[in-house]
Point group: C2
Chain length 212, copies 2
């Protein structure tokens, strides 16, 4: 009997994953304040006390959501942009495609990271700032690599500025793509790649725009 009961219990790690899955969906749908622990527990198929026991307060649960989803997004982008042998533009393209694909395939995750978390102040804004720094650092690495290969006049400060611009553009475009019916991840990634690379590509060759 004892054995049968144990066999039906899911391991804690599985239960926790189900709870965080449910929480991401509720926070994405209703926002942090309006989301209820009752709905999260119901969606996860567990009792509310078990949610508190495993994952703590609503604030801790939201933080757990942000951390997990940020890790998943970073992992997807890093995996997409792997391939040490590829030229920097191909790696950037692969990274952008992975980013927009992640946002399109996990709209709740993207909603929590891009909107729900950043509109809730501290301590969540700090979690987001760390995610952003990692993404910007990753993009700066790719742009820096391209700059060294091209041997142009792009300085370290230019590289950081361009990485900030590209990260901001990607963030803005992903939200727009998810809100606009019929825009695919590939289309959004291609738009940004064309915007960014044709521009970046010219910069690398020291071909700058200047006022007439």
């Amino acid at each position: 009997m004892e054995h049968a009961v144990k066999a039906r219990r899911l391991p804690r790690v599985v239960r926790e994953r189900q709870m965080v899955d449910a929480a991401v969906r509720c926070f994405a749908r209703h926002g942090y304040r309006a989301a209820s622990m009752d709905e999260i527990a119901e969606l996860a198929g567990v009792s509310k006390p078990l949610v508190y026991l495993y994952l703590g307060s609503k604030e801790e649960l939201f933080t757990a959501c942000i951390r997990r989803e940020a890790g998943a997004l970073l992992g997807a982008v890093a995996a997409g942009a792997e391939g040490a042998g590829l030229p920097p533009d191909e790696r950037l393209w692969a990274g952008l495609l992975a980013f927009f694909t992640y946002a399109a395939e996990h709209p709740d995750s993207w909603m929590v990271l891009s909107l729900r978390a950043r509109t809730q102040g501290e301590p969540f804004a700090g979690e987001l700032a760390r995610l952003r720094d990692e993404i910007v650092g990753f993009v700066a690495g790719l742009i820096g690599e391209a700059a060294r290969e091209a041997d142009g006049v792009v300085t370290g400060r230019d590289v950081n500025a361009l990485a900030q611009a590209l990260a901001g553009a990607a963030e803005s475009l992903a939200t727009w793509a998810n809100e606009t019916p019929g825009v695919t991840a590939k289309e959004a990634a291609a738009t940004l790649m064309n915007f960014a690379w044709a521009g970046l590509g010219n910069l690398m060759k020291s071909e700058r725009w200047s006022p007439r």
Copy 2:
């Protein structure tokens, strides 16, 4: 005597402006929650009851700050990008320069609009969304004009996507520029113009980047 007292009283509109000036500075410095009505009143040189009487609750005062600063930013960008006779790239350059100059010269204003307001949830996020829509619409107008002149293959959806990308890039870069010692508004604007226009310029000529 009555006359002397009246002469020393400032018109309500002047007092209100002083209060909102003080509030923008306090909200920028401390964030919405930590900013105190006491400090705002002291900085404005008035009593706290007068702040409540003229501008209402802390929430109403913060909303008044966002509206006024958003209007000032939009006005600066629109004035900068005026000049119907100029080609679209020159107008975009003038608009970007006006935008980065505004953010650099009014760091408290930019802090409130870009960070303090958007991390506070509703109703402030809604005010910000309206500002963003106006800026994106304005940028889309300039890009659309360039696309028509160039007679390329840029569609209406491309124009909207590019406007979203450019607005996100500008937002991200302005915050970075204000946080990075020694980066001038002109340098930030030039970086983005080069990034954007060389890329946009190629797009307009139907010269697209494509994977090898």
